[in-house]
Each structure stands twice: as C-alpha cells, then as structure tokens.
C-alpha cells in the first residue's frame, strides 16, 4: 500500500463496531506488530497484508477494506491468530467483513470465492450433506469457468471418488436450521 494522507470522520469508526456486532471480535486490540503478515502463507497474493487490512478496519476505511482482495484470499489457516500477541481473531474479523459486504450488497474483489461459498450453502440446503458432483455443477454455472480443473475432475470420476447420486439424510433438519438462522439474524 502506498502512503497517503487520510481524513478520519466520526462515522468511519462504525466499521469496527459493525465487525464486533457480527463476530464478537474487537479489532482495536491490534497494535500493528506485523506478526500476522509475516506468517501468512497467502500474503504474497494479497493486495493488503493482514496487518494493513486490520489497521484499515480500525480506521473505518470502508472503501479500502471493501475493495481489498485480502479477506477473500484468506484460507482461515489460523497461523496468524495463533501467533498474534494481542489475541486478535484475524480470520474471524475477515469473515465478519465478508458477512457485512454480503448484507450491504457490496461487490467482492474475488467473486469466485463467494460463488463457491454460496454454492456450498445451496448444496447443504438441498441435501443436508455435501454432494460434490452437484456442487461442482453449481460452481461452474456461477463462475462460468467450465473448463477449469476438468482434467482433474475426470480423473477423480474415474477413480470413483464421487457419489453419483445425492443422499438426503439430514436434509430436512439442515433446511430447518438454515431457515431459523435467517429468522434469528433478521430479528
């Protein structure tokens, strides 16, 4: 990130509060030691380091935060949160940003990552358990990357890795859980 002068407004501090409201995580504990970024395996592909993104969250820089690809590339490996001297749940805070973006209909920098998450959720609502073939189909429709990983997929099919048909054990219960979660979160 290049250095620039930023003006902080009263309302910008609301971002930290919003994150705390959906995740119970207080990012204000971070003192920018940088330890999280040093150990992050995906930092090389992120536009902001985890430290920088947490800092931007503290400062309430909505634009900087929402435009970043960092939280979308985070794999939740928990290396950073295990090492953080201030006990900040960094990937948890990133999850919170993604949840806020989804609620505010913000466009993600990495739409494919969100597409996979949504395909997974749809899959569970339908089947209660992961039905890989169905999920891969939905992902392809959502990302429109029809040939990506085709070779690997064919090899896995040949090795009998996938169940050809979905089961429905637990489907009913899962659907009820999804519905009640939605209701609770609206309340």
């Amino acid at each position: 990130m290049t250095e620039e002068i930023i003006t902080l407004k009263e309302k910008s501090f609301k971002l930290g509060e919003a994150v705390a409201a959906v995740s119970d995580i207080d990012v204000s504990f971070c003192y920018q030691c940088g330890k999280c970024s040093t150990g992050c395996p995906v930092a090389y592909a992120m536009d902001l380091t985890p430290t920088q993104l947490i800092h931007a969250m503290q400062l309430g820089l909505h634009d900087v935060v929402y435009k970043s690809n960092t939280m979308w590339l985070c794999v939740s490996c928990l290396t950073c949160s295990t090492r953080c001297p201030q006990d900040v749940d960094i990937p948890g805070a990133f999850d919170a940003v993604k949840i806020l973006m989804e609620r505010n209909k913000e466009t993600p920098r990495e739409p494919d990552v969100l597409a996979v998450t949504k395909s997974f959720a749809q899959n569970l609502r339908w089947f209660g358990r992961m039905y890989e073939l169905g999920m891969v189909g939905v992902i392809k429709l959502r990302t429109r990357k029809f040939t990506q990983d085709l070779g690997m997929g064919m090899k896995m099919l040949k090795k009998n890795k996938f169940n050809l048909l979905p089961g429905f054990e637990g489907a009913w219960e899962t659907r009820k859980i999804f519905r009640r979660v939605k209701k609770q979160e609206k309340a």
Partner: protein
C-alpha cells in the same frame, strides 16, 4: 472402548479410504465406533464465512445426539470437521447469547461438554499406543514417511488442545509404533491452501507444491495426512504442479490410517490404496 463416530461428508465420498481405513484399524485395536445417525454437515468454511450462528449450530446439532446414544465422546477424523466442532463448542461456552440463539435454532439443548477427539490423539495415547506394536505384521521400517498435520488439527492450540501447534509429534509416534520410519521436516503444519481449491487453484498448487518439495528433500517416500482436504490438494494437484513447475512430483499421499492398516497386514485392496490419483505402488515395494 466405545465412541460415537462422525465421519462427515468427505469421508462418505472423496475421502472414503480414510473412513474405511479408520474402521479397519479401530477394529484391530478393539475400538467400537457408532456412527451418529442422520448426522448433518459441519458447515466447513462456508458456515463461518456466512454466519457465526450457522457455524455454531451445525456442529452443535450433531453433538446434541450423543446423550440419546448414551455416549459422551465423539471421534471426528476429518480435520476440517474436527476444527469446526471444537470452535463451535468453544463459542457456545464463551458466549451466552450465542448459546441461547443456538438452542433456538437447533431446538435441542446445547451439549457443550462432549469430548471431541481426533483419532491421531487416541492412537498416540494409552491404552491404544502400546497395543499398536503387537499388531504389526509387515516390516515397514524401510519406508520413510513425512507426517503432515496441516492447519486445523493443531490451530489454535487453546481451542483444539492438540499436541504442540508448531511442531506436533503425535502422528509420528503412532506411525513409529507401527514400525514405520518418520522424518524430521519443516512444513508439518504449513497450510496447503485448503478451501481455496475450488476458487483459486493456482494458490493451492503453489502452496501444496512447496510442501511436497520439502518432504522430498527430507527424503520422504510418502506423505501421511489426516485430513481429506489436505489429501485432495496434495494428491490430486500433482498434474497441475507438473504444468506449473515442469516436473511431476510423483509423491504418494496416503492417510496415516492406511499405513497403520498396511502395517497390521491388511491388503492394499482392503485399504483402498487404488483410489489415489497419484500412484502409491512404490510403497508396497518397500515392505519387507
């Protein structure tokens, strides 16, 4: 010894060989596994990416079944499920409001005192640890294995309570008890790229390749894993590694329970060794 058993989605499909080999090994060790009836998915990465309440409710509804089964400990082999179960239990223990919401959602009481156990841990501890050497039927001392633990078994240590997070030893102890040589190497707990497999394959190929290269330079004949997601990334991405880096790694990636079963004299067919995308036959040549 009798435990509830939660296989999770992957062990019923892409990771069936993990399920089959755990059951076979438990049978030899005198451990009875009772699968939770009509279990539902733990929510995996999707759950916590979408909603904290959903991420806590899916594991807790599974744990709520244990009292009916008359059991208070559950074995969870998939590292992703294990981590989600532990995290959900921790979050309802520490957040009373969340706990109340979860009870509303699952329509059952929250059963937060259940023991959530990974098979590596019970095999590494007494009484099972000392039963292992007595079951060995094949001499695998010529086989050099790098044990890969990945992220979610070990981190965060205060929640998973698993071994040492930076340099765990429990899987090494289990395989050594089964007569297999295990190696010292540096990427035991470095991430393979996990759930980015379906959205950002290039990152997964890069991270997983580093793990395989490191194991190779330590002299490994195979990498042992305890997670279906790590397995898929390390095993199924080797063709892509060849495309990106020019050389096919040809590194056998197997579940640690398959190696235990092989040491106990079970056949490769019984342990479903033929389901891996990268050939593992070189392992059999090293048995004496």
């Amino acid at each position: 010894m009798k435990y509830a058993y939660y296989p999770g989605c992957s062990l019923h499909s892409t990771g069936k060989e993990f399920d089959v080999s755990i059951r076979a090994v438990c049978d030899k060790l005198g451990v009875e596994l009772v699968e939770i009836e009509n279990w539902v998915c733990c929510g995996a990465t999707m759950g916590h990416n979408l909603s904290r309440l959903l991420a806590a409710s899916l594991p807790m509804t599974n744990l709520a079944r244990l009292p009916e089964m008359g059991l208070d400990e559950v074995i969870v082999p998939c590292a992703e499920c294990f981590s989600r179960f532990k995290a959900a239990q921790h979050s309802v223990k520490t957040d009373k409001k969340l706990r109340r919401d979860v009870v509303e959602v699952i329509h059952k009481d929250c059963n937060e005192d259940v023991g959530i156990i990974h098979p590596v841990t019970i095999f590494a501890e007494e009484p099972l640890a000392s039963r292992i050497p007595g079951l060995v039927k094949r001499d695998l001392s010529g086989l050099k294995v790098a044990c890969y633990y990945g992220c979610l078994l070990t981190r965060p240590p205060k929640i998973t309570g698993f071994d040492v997070d930076g340099y765990p030893e429990s899987m090494d102890r289990v395989l050594r008890a089964a007569g297999i040589t295990t190696l010292e190497w540096s990427r035991k707990t470095v991430c393979c790229g996990g759930s980015l497999a379906l959205s950002k394959p290039d990152i997964v190929v890069n991270l997983s390749h580093k793990i395989i290269e490191d194991a190779k330079s330590a002299g490994a004949d195979a990498i042992a894993v305890a997670c279906p997601m790590c397995h898929a990334n390390l095993d199924a991405r080797q063709d892509d590694m060849e495309k990106t880096f020019g050389v096919h790694p040809r590194m056998p990636i197997v579940y640690f329970t398959q190696l235990m079963g092989y040491s106990f004299g079970l056949s490769p067919e019984e342990l479903l060794f033929d389901r891996h995308l990268t050939e593992v036959d070189s392992i059999f040549g090293l048995a004496r």
